[in-house]
């Protein structure tokens, strides 16, 4: 159950970012922003030659006191960042992976929509929203 889910474009601007509304969303935005550096670091560490072999799931990017941030990058350098509650110890790596997989699939569906301009914010897809909602912590 994520606390915040973000989709970052190749140029490192957010295509979609959504947080659990209870908290100060700015904080999450900031965390996602800072995590981009870590993502870049991980990507570059692989080297050019390994681009194809690079695994999409980046794993834990960095932990903070309250949260843990996970990253996932696609082959087109679109990044998914997910912030989860650190106290949620039951959340296993596999589950995070599956959540990213779902994200990726939904993102692909959005891309397939001819009415969606790549580079636009993802605001039109109900399916995508629904999927993200299902992944977010049910706070209310």
């Amino acid at each position: 159950m994520a606390v915040c889910v973000a989709v970052i474009a190749k140029e490192n601007y957010p295509l979609y970012i959504r947080s659990v509304p209870t908290e100060n969303e700015l904080k999450f935005h900031y965390m996602v922003h800072t995590s981009l550096d870590v993502v870049d670091e991980k990507i570059s560490a692989m080297g050019k030659a390994l681009v194809d072999q690079r695994e999409l799931y980046l794993g834990l990017l960095y932990p903070t006191e309250d949260y843990k941030v996970y990253g996932y990058v696609t082959n087109s350098k679109v990044k998914f960042v997910m912030v989860v509650d650190a106290s949620n110890t039951a959340l296993r790596d596999n589950e995070i992976r599956s959540m990213f997989r779902k994200l990726h699939n939904s993102y692909t569906d959005v891309m397939c929509n001819p009415f969606y301009d790549p580079g636009d914010r993802i605001q039109s897809s109900r399916a995508f929203d629904g999927m993200v909602t299902s992944m977010m912590i049910q706070v209310c």
């Binding site: 929509n113 001819p114 009415f115 039109s124 109900r126």
Partner: protein, 796 residues
């Protein structure tokens, strides 16, 4: 009646309503049916409705007389105006607007209401009516332009009662949601409700131009609209028609529809749609869509790429956001391209949207792309209430499922698929039923035909066995022999219990299996064990007595089978000594016994020797085409049968693939018998004629024993004969090798393979059986000791 005073408009209105409700013209209206629906359409809470009914006396009378009805209507108006319901209020409340009945007929109702009231009131009421978003009518007001239905509305005056609830429609909810966008300028907001009411009004004799279908439309409910304007893609949609007052709009029906469909066509469409859920695509619509599809993609089975679709739908002037939603809904397989079905669904949604209907959350069932192109006409009503949203139970996702009743064509698909599935499952199940036994054999055995029948065949028929024999003979004999050889050597090593060995050899088939059944249930053998079990079972019953301890050298086993074994062994040995004859039997028995053992082993329940025997026999027979010399076996079998009663033979028999060399069962048997047979085989070795070679002797013994036991178990001579035949075949396989040599090498090799497999299986089985045998023997010994201890006491 309590002095109800009605204004003229009210009077007229009420009388029309009453006429409407009073379908039977009996001057009284039943409480149910239309009246109820009418009241429901009034959008009052049910308790209020009940209260009204009570107040007007209908409950007392049980029906609505005219006066009651009028009172009720007045009360409805009172309630709708927010006044408390009181009997006196009917008269006290002045200037009560006409009761409004919302339902698909909303607009018309409102219009009617408006019409009844003064013009100003009319406007007022309209406005009053408009506000309630759910009210369809409101939406219509705005765009009425195209509604052909509108023509009806033009008839506002004509429709005195139109607002009466359309009985069928309860969909109201969905249309309401659609309504939200109705105001949208996107034009085409034809008034759906108009369509609805139209038909409704027809009963009132309104000459609505298009509303002939009225009734139909009504029932259909709501979204008839799509039909109306739908076409105007290329041109600016109905935007032109905006907000003309109803009457005007009614006239306006012009419907920008550029589409070929004439108003009549629209009406017809509307009508047809009325029966169905709002999202149903009528034939005309579909035809139109298909034509449009062709303009983009001539191949009806092809796809429209996303970009082309984007251009096309952009022409509809819907906002991109909405188009994106529509695409999301209609691109069923999420491939970025539209098939014909998807395209029609998308088009339909666009039309609906343009007409003011809200987009559903999920793709309605009727719009789901079908696997086969269908004509949607069919089934209507599958979602009477679903209009729009509900998203049809069928969820967008996957449903090409049978859940779409309306899709006639899907049914055949589904049926086909289900048939395919069924067949598949049948096949798979049948293959499963083959049980490892067969499966082992099958690959190797070119005569795969046997595989199937083998496991299934519970009682081998002589004929079959003979066939098997023939087949066996054709195959390679060497295989069976070799494993047997190996096994026998192993067996001979242990030599724990001669009798047991003999037992095994003789009875292993039966005993081993039977005991194995009881002790071990090798799952692998279950399937194939049919035959085996038969053989085993035959033996097992006889082997009730604990197998004579190996030390007890009874050449005659305690069990009859053992006795047989001895005899058999001796016979077999004699036969073996005979040479050729003996050898072949040795080898084949292994696979067979193993095979037989397998099934027996795995079938703990199978006490029926007959079954096992039969099962094994047939199995054995088919599997060992190599063993041609069943006749020889018969001889052995006869001798073996006697011995086969031993329990211990259970395992041995398995090991002794007498019947089938190639069967995996035989290998199992061999395996099983290994342990047990070791002892037994040693003893049986000599007696084991089946094995041509000495090492083979033991194995053959169990095999033979099994066979014998099987035979014994099988009272029927046939089986015995078969088994013996099989055994003979097995046994003879070796000696008969030279015979078989003449056969196809391929067959031989195949049989070799089979035999090997069988051998391995049997070997496994054998080892297990041996274990069991040992245990049993130990128990027996202990029991005997106890018995002896007790005996002296008994004398006391």
């Amino acid at each position: 009646m309590e002095g109800l005073t009605l204004s003229d408009a009210e009077q007229k209105y009420y009388s029309d309503l009453f006429s409407y409700c009073d379908s039977e013209s009996t001057k009284k209206v039943a409480a149910h049916g239309r009246v109820l629906e009418l009241f429901r359409a009034a959008q009052l809470p049910s308790d209020v409705v009940h209260q009204i009914m009570e107040l007007c006396g209908a409950t007392r009378l049980g029906y609505f007389g005219r006066s009651q009805f009028y009172i009720a209507l007045k009360l409805v108006a009172v309630a709708q105006s927010g006044f408390p319901l009181r009997v006196e209020s009917i008269n006290t409340v002045k200037d009560l607007p006409l009761p409004r009945f919302v339902a698909s007929k909303n607009e018309q109702e409102s219009r009617h209401a408006a019409s009844y009231s003064s013009d100003s009131e009319n406007q007022g009421s309209y406005s009053g009516v408009i506000p309630p978003p759910p009210g369809r009518g409101q939406v219509k007001k705005g765009s009425t332009s195209h509604d052909t239905v509108q023509p009806r509305t033009s008839a506002d005056q004509q429709e005195p009662v139109s607002p009466v609830v359309s009985p069928q429609q309860s969909p109201p909810t969905s249309p309401h949601t659609w309504r939200k966008h109705s105001r949208h300028p996107s034009g085409g907001n034809s008034e759906r409700p108009l369509a609805g009411p139209g038909p409704f009004w027809s009963p009132f004799g309104e000459a609505q131009s298009g509303s002939s279908a009225g009734d139909a439309v009504w029932s259909g409910h709501s979204p008839p609209p799509p039909q109306e304007n739908w076409v105007s893609f290329a041109d600016t949609p109905p935007t032109s028609t905006l907000l003309t007052m109803h009457p005007a709009s009614v006239q306006d029906q012009t419907t920008v529809r550029t589409v070929a469909s004439a108003t009549t066509a629209n009406e017809i469409r509307r009508q047809s749609s009325s029966y169905d859920d709002p999202w149903k695509i009528t034939d005309e619509q579909r035809q139109y869509y298909v034509n449009q599809f062709k303009t983009i993609q001539p191949d009806l089975n092809g796809f429209i790429p996303g970009s082309a679709a984007k251009e096309f739908f952009t022409k509809s002037k819907l906002p991109i956001l909405e188009l994106s939603h529509i695409w999301e809904l209609s691109d069923f397989d999420k491939d970025g391209a539209l098939t014909l079905d998807e395209f029609c669904a998308a088009f339909h949604l666009v039309v609906a949207r343009k007409n003011g209907y809200d987009l559903p959350e999920k793709l309605p069932e009727s719009l789901m792309p079908k696997l086969i192109d269908l004509e949607d006409s069919a089934d209507v009503g599958d979602q009477p209430g679903e209009v729009g949203y509900s998203g049809s139970p069928a969820e967008a996702p996957p449903s090409k499922s049978p859940s779409m009743p309306s899709l006639n064509q899907t049914w055949p698909e589904l049926n086909q698929s289900s048939e395919q599935w069924e067949t598949f499952s049948e096949r798979s199940s049948s293959s499963q039923t083959l049980t490892q036994f067969d499966s082992n054999i099958a690959p190797a055995d070119p005569d795969t035909a046997i595989v199937h029948p083998v496991p299934i065949r519970m009682t081998p028929s002589k004929i079959h066995m003979q066939e098997m024999e023939l087949k066996r003979t054709g195959s390679d004999h060497t295989n069976p022999t070799s494993p047997l050889l190996v096994k026998t050597s192993d067996l001979s090593e242990e030599n724990k219990i001669n009798s047991s060995v003999k037992f095994a050899s003789g009875n292993t088939v039966a005993d081993g299996y039977s005991s194995s059944d009881s002790f071990t249930s090798d799952p692998e053998q279950i399937g194939n064990n049919v035959t085996r079990q038969r053989s085993h079972s035959g033996m097992s019953p006889d082997n009730t007595a604990p197998p004579p301890p190996p030390p007890r050298p009874q050449p005659s086993h305690s069990r009859s089978s053992s006795l047989d074994m001895n005899r058999t062994f001796s016979v077999t040995t004699g036969q073996q000594q005979a040479g050729v004859v003996a050898q072949p039997p040795a080898v084949p028995p292994r696979p067979q016994p193993s095979q037989a053992a397998g099934p027996v082993v795995h079938r703990p329940v199978d006490a029926d020797g007959l079954i096992t025997h039969t099962s094994t026999s047939p199995q054995q027979i088919p599997e060992q085409p190599n063993f041609a010399d069943f006749s020889q076996f018969e001889v052995f079998a006869a001798s073996n049968v006697n011995e086969e009663q031993d329990d211990e033979a259970e395992k041995h028999p398995e090991v002794l693939p007498v019947e089938k060399a190639s069967d995996p069962a035989s290998s199992l048997r061999v395996a099983k018998t290994d342990s047990k047979i070791e002892e037994k085989t040693a003893a049986s070795a000599p007696a084991n004629v089946s094995k041509g070679t000495t090492p083979l002797a033991p194995p053959p013994k169990p095999v033979r024993r099994r066979l014998k036991s099987e035979d014994e178990l099988r009272p029927e001579v046939d089986e015995h004969t078969q088994k013996t035949g099989v055994l003979a075949a097995v046994l003879a396989s070796q000696p008969s090798i030279p015979r078989s040599v003449g056969k196809d090498k391929k067959a031989i090799q195949a049989s070799i393979r089979r035999n090997k497999e069988t051998n391995t299986v049997l070997a496994r089985l054998n080892s297990e059986l041996q274990q069991q045998l040992k245990d049993v023997l130990e128990e027996r010994i202990s029991l005997e000791v106890q018995l002896e201890q007790l005996r002296p006491f008994s004398h006391l």
